[in-house]
Each structure stands twice: as C-alpha cells, then as structure tokens.
C-alpha cells in the first residue's frame, strides 16, 4: 500500500526516528511502512492518522481501488 508518510514527515521536518518515537514503533518499522514494504495494522494506521491529524485515506492509498476506478 502506498502512502504519503515521507512527504508528511518532511513537511514537519521530522526524522524517521522522530516518527518511530511518536508511534512507539522501531525505526525499522517506520521505514518499512514509509516505503510501502509493510502495511500497518488498523490501530497503527489510526494512530498515524491521529498524529498527522488527517483522515487515513489521505495518508494511505489502496492501489487496487485506484486501479479499478480508472
């Protein structure tokens, strides 16, 4: 699943370690989510959404749904 985490993080001038710290996960996990290698659980996705005060769908994109709508 693709996401805007890198952009959102850069807008706030946060490092990956800052993001990991705020989410209470390892930097490895923050990096894997950001790169789209690992999809977070729903609770973690909500936590990310709360952190950036954005709806989940403005952070994560369902590539399959995007493909179907085209």
């Amino acid at each position: 699943m693709k996401n805007r985490l890198k952009v959102l993080r850069a807008e706030r001038d946060w490092t990956q370690a800052d993001l990991a710290n705020a989410l209470d996960v390892s930097r490895q996990t923050a990096n894997a989510i950001e790169k789209g290698k690992f999809d977070p659980s729903l609770p973690l996705a909500f936590k990310i959404a709360r952190l950036f005060t954005l709806p989940i769908e403005e952070i994560f994109f369902d590539e399959e749904a995007t493909f179907i709508s085209k």
């Binding site: 490092t15 209470d24 996960v25 390892s26 930097r27 490895q28 996990t29 690992f38």
Partner: protein, 143 residues
C-alpha cells in the same frame, strides 16, 4: 512539534521496556542452558546418578524451561507489529523445517540409510540455524 530530544529508538527495539524483556529472555535462556548441563553432567560427575538428585535437577530444569517460555511470550508481546511478524514468520518456518526434517531424519535409520540412531542434537542445531537465518532474511526484507 519537536521530537528530536526524545529519540530513543534503535534499529530493532521500539522502547527501553523491550530491552528489559530481551534481557530477561537472555537470562532465562542462560539459566535454562545451565540447568540442562546440570541435569546431564551433574548426574555423571556430581551425584553419581542418584535418582533423588536427578529428579530435583530435572524439576529445576523444567521450571527454568517454563520461565523461558513465559519470558519469550512477554518478549513477543512487547515487540512492535513488524518485529512480531518477522519473529512469528521465523518461528513458523523453524517449526515446519523441524517437523519435516525431524520425521525424515528419524526414518533414515528405519529404512537403513544410516547405521546410527538419529540424534536430537542434530535436529536442534538445524532448527537453531533455520531460526537465525529466517530472522536475518526477515530483517533484510523489511530493511
């Protein structure tokens, strides 16, 4: 929002509580290993196979084993979701390899392909290597 002063993350742990649980797991593992050696070598070199002492040593060994399992469960519960996935995947692969290889290895003597009795040590070594490699590959995959 400045979070730079609160950067306490390492590559593999999410917070200091994880390190505490990891340390507990290491200590329980060491205690279990020592108790394993005590059962085996204590009977041979210390109490000359007296059943009472052997039973005490065995009970101690099993108690350490239970402690190790509890420490492992606690450690797993404190991992974040990716770390838990990597660990659980490695455990699943190790269990599968252990079961498949163990049964095949056990049959080698039955069908006369080897002349010696299969050793449990060989299976444990295979499982340990499989687990370590699976953890390594899992970490590389999500690096």
């Amino acid at each position: 929002m400045n979070m730079n002063n609160n950067n306490k993350h390492s590559e593999t742990t999410s917070n200091p509580h994880n390190n505490t649980h990891l340390l507990q797991l290491i200590l329980w593992t060491l205690a279990w290993l020592v108790s394993t050696a005590l059962v085996r070598f204590g009977a041979e070199y210390i109490w000359d196979y007296q059943p009472t002492y052997s039973i005490y040593a065995l009970v101690l060994h099993l108690t350490m084993g239970v402690g190790l399992i509890v420490a492992n469960v606690k450690h797993l519960s404190k991992l974040d979701e990716l770390q838990r996935k990597i660990t659980m995947d490695a455990m699943g692969i190790t269990l599968g390899v252990g079961l498949i290889a163990g049964i095949a290895y056990e049959q080698l003597e039955d069908i006369k392909l080897i002349s010696y009795e299969p050793q449990i040590d060989h299976l444990i070594m295979l499982m340990a290597i499989t687990y370590i490699m699976s953890i390594f590959i899992g970490n590389r995959k999500y690096k």
